[in-house]
């Protein structure tokens, strides 16, 4: 058993657990966005950055950093709050996150985080990129304007469903989530139509067709429920 300290509270972790898992188990909430229980950690969004005092105050993503014996961690401080808010502002400025008519309005992880971090305005100029909306799948749609590139859909598709339909194309802010090799989603030969990617998506980027403003409620917890129910393969 490992012991470490988070926000002045001594907690325990089992070997292999991340800082985030140990904190959550001890009832300490650390905000996350690209993390989803049941998927491998990615460390893509940096919302869960925490400060490790005994590593000279280094910032590390709690979701992707193993808990170690004796770590003294700050998970909540004004500095971290400011950093998290800045990350959120950059995400909002990067694409077109218009909550007013979004299918996920009121049920969106990005929106909730922004509200929690007091983001009442964005200090950076919006980029307003012209991004496509692909509604060619009979059951689902993808609106790249609302994508934060967390990769939860990509991981859910490969790690849980095993279809490996989703992947990334492009670089940096030009990165897009794509089905197969850039085909319209409806033309994908690998997609099973299971919808795990939609449930895993934290925003309104992936949605069920036919959902109107505010009607899209995601069940991200399904991903962990599916993986936990699977029989362990002996080997």
């Amino acid at each position: 058993m490992i012991t470490l300290r988070v926000d002045g509270q001594d907690i325990t972790a089992s070997p292999g657990q991340t800082i985030l898992e140990a904190a959550v188990a001890a009832g300490i909430r650390i905000p996350t966005l690209c993390h989803l229980k049941g998927l491998t950690p990615r460390g893509a969004c940096r919302i869960c950055l925490v400060e490790v005092k005994n590593w000279n105050g280094r910032l590390v993503p709690a979701c992707a950093t193993p808990a170690e014996q004796g770590l003294d961690i700050v998970a909540h401080s004004q500095r971290l709050r400011d950093l998290r808010r800045t990350i959120l502002e950059l995400l909002f400025a990067e694409r077109n996150h218009v909550c007013a008519f979004c299918v996920s309005n009121g049920h969106c992880e990005l929106q909730t985080l922004a509200a929690e971090h007091g983001m009442e305005h964005v200090r950076f100029p919006y980029r307003f990129p012209a991004l496509p909306l692909d509604a060619s799948h009979p059951k689902y749609g993808i609106d790249h304007s609302r994508c934060v590139l967390c990769g939860r859909c990509v991981r859910a598709c490969s790690e849980v469903e095993g279809a490996m339909t989703w992947g990334f194309s492009g670089r940096g802010i030009h990165t897009l989530v794509e089905a197969d090799l850039g085909d319209p989603w409806g033309k994908s030969k690998t997609c099973t139509g299971c919808g795990k990617c939609v449930q895993a998506c934290p925003t309104g980027a992936l949605f069920e067709r036919g959902k109107a403003t505010s009607e899209q409620v995601k069940k991200g917890e399904l991903v962990a429920e599916v993986t936990e129910r699977r029989p362990r393969v002996q080997g």
């Binding site: 007013a100 299918v103 060619s136 067709r209 959902k211 109107a212 403003t213």
Partner: protein, 475 residues
């Protein structure tokens, strides 16, 4: 030519009136310009049809419900479905709430200062607070009636402004028994206020003879929805066009084929287009929409008290069409009463509690038109989509747009009557020009799908094009 320019207030949005004078100082031309532009028709492209009610409701904070419902109807057409009957009734109930709140706002909050305090009253007092001082009960009534309409909207849609409740195929929540009971307790007061307001107006009509004569009193066509049987209609039905003798020029026109009988002209001096009745050409095909047009078009209101009021209204013109735009106010109050009466009927209908409120379907048509009566007049949403339901084209014709030609005629009539050789803009003229526009209860923001500060400018221009005077009324 010389030109007066006058800004307009106590309307939704932002506009400009220019008055050109000839060499003798007489009015040569008067124009009402809408000076805002927004671009909804363009930026809706690429969105899904299911999002359109939520997006287009944001065109306006006064009549989001109208856009929401017209958009949902265009969506019904694209899905190729008829919403279940309870959904149709629920949408109608919300629209009646919208009529009540918007008509109360127009009459009590925006227009009653002129009507009750006088056209030449001190502008510093000529507003709803001035009314509240001089006639506290009337001001309170106005606020209560509007609140009743807003409460209907909130009870159904969860919020008063921009409820995202109507969806292609129906609505997403029924009326609850608690909501129904709460509204029912407030119905008697709403009915009393609507009746009192109507009585107040009827009593005062003789005092407003000059305004009735000059505030847009001219023969024209009138266009509105009516039921297939010819009754007053606000959410479905067919289009009827009547002339100033109330002779039916066209009846049973299919809303979905509006482009066959409505043309849209463009003038370089306004961002607002000029719709006209196509068979009569431009600008002869001038028609009016809204409360006045709906009452001139329909054979009956369909509820007892409103039908009684309609008889008095008809008597104004001996059974012909009432052609003075001043009487938009009258028609608005009769509609508010009709709406309150119809709300009473709906609240007793158990079908409004039914969970069968949404028809689900895929994309079955690539084009859909939703026509609906907003408080201000006929509202048209026309969408084209691709096979996946992604919007490829949008055309919106909003009630204020339909009335654009008529508002211009009204401005000219008032300027000719009240401006006799002056080279400055008299305060009395300023307010009467605004009052003439205000009778239409226009929503300039909606009509050009535009955002901007409140206020109308009036500019007076001389024969050589020099600006003689310019006034902005306080917002």
């Amino acid at each position: 030519m010389r030109e007066h320019k006058i800004p307009v207030t106590r309307v939704e949005g932002h506009g400009l009136i220019t008055i050109h004078l000839d060499d003798r100082g007489q009015v040569a031309q008067a124009r009402f310009h809408v000076t805002e532009a927004r671009g909804f028709e363009r930026f809706c492209q690429g969105r899904t049809v299911w999002e359109m009610p939520g997006i287009t409701a944001r065109i306006c904070g006064i009549c989001p419900v109208s856009h929401l419902l017209a958009s949902a109807k265009a969506g019904d057409a694209i899905l190729g479905v008829r919403p279940p009957r309870p959904a149709d009734k629920l949408r109608r109930l919300m629209n009646l709430g919208q009529f009540i709140q918007s008509h109360a706002l127009s009459f009590f909050h925006l227009s009653s200062p002129d009507l009750l305090l006088g056209w030449d009253a001190d502008p510093a007092q000529r507003h709803i607070f001035g009314v509240a001082q001089a006639h506290p009960q009337i001001a309170l009534d106005g606020i209560r009636l509007r609140a009743f309409g807003q409460e209907i909207i909130e009870t159904l849609g969860g919020k008063r402004v921009h409820p995202a409740w109507a969806v292609p195929g129906g609505v997403n929540a029924p009326l609850t028994p608690e909501g129904r009971d709460r509204l029912a307790t407030k119905l008697p007061e709403a009915r009393r206020i609507a009746q009192d307001a109507l009585a107040l107006y009827e009593k005062n009509v003789p005092n407003w003879a000059e305004q009735v004569e000059t505030f847009g009193n001219f023969p024209s066509l009138f266009l509105s929805l009516v039921t297939p049987e010819g009754s007053w209609e606000h959410h479905d039905g067919v289009i009827r066009v009547v002339d100033s003798n109330r002779r039916i020029v066209a009846d049973g026109l299919l809303p979905a084929r509006y482009f066959e009988y409505i043309g849209e002209a463009v003038e370089e001096w306004s961002y607002l287009k000029f719709p006209y009745y196509k068979p009569w050409g431009y600008p002869e095909g001038l028609y009016r929409v809204g409360p006045l047009a709906r009452l001139n078009c329909c054979d009956r209101m369909g509820t007892p008290w409103a039908d009684e009021a309609l008889k008095h209204f008809r008597a104004l013109a001996a059974g012909k069409a009432v052609t003075s735009s001043f009487h938009y106010h009258y028609a608005r109050l009769i509609e508010a009463l009709a709406a309150v009466e119809q709300v009473g009927t709906y609240l007793e209908d158990p079908e409004l509690l039914s969970p069968r409120i949404r028809a689900e379907a895929g994309i079955n048509e690539l084009e859909g038109v939703g026509i609906h009566e907003a408080p201000r007049g006929t509202l048209i949403h026309h969408y084209k989509v691709d096979e996946f339901g992604v919007i490829r084209g949008v055309n919106l014709i909003v009630s204020t747009g339909h009335n654009n030609l008529a508002m211009n005629r009204t401005v000219a009539q008032i300027a000719e009557h009240y401006l006799q050789g002056e080279t400055t803009i008299p305060e009395g003229l300023l307010n009467r020009l605004e009052g003439g526009i205000r009778a239409y209860d226009p929503c300039l923001s909606c009509s050009v799908h535009a955002a901007g500060r409140l206020g109308l400018r009036v500019v007076l221009v001389g024969p050589e094009g020099q600006v003689l005077d310019e006034k902005v009324s306080a917002p």
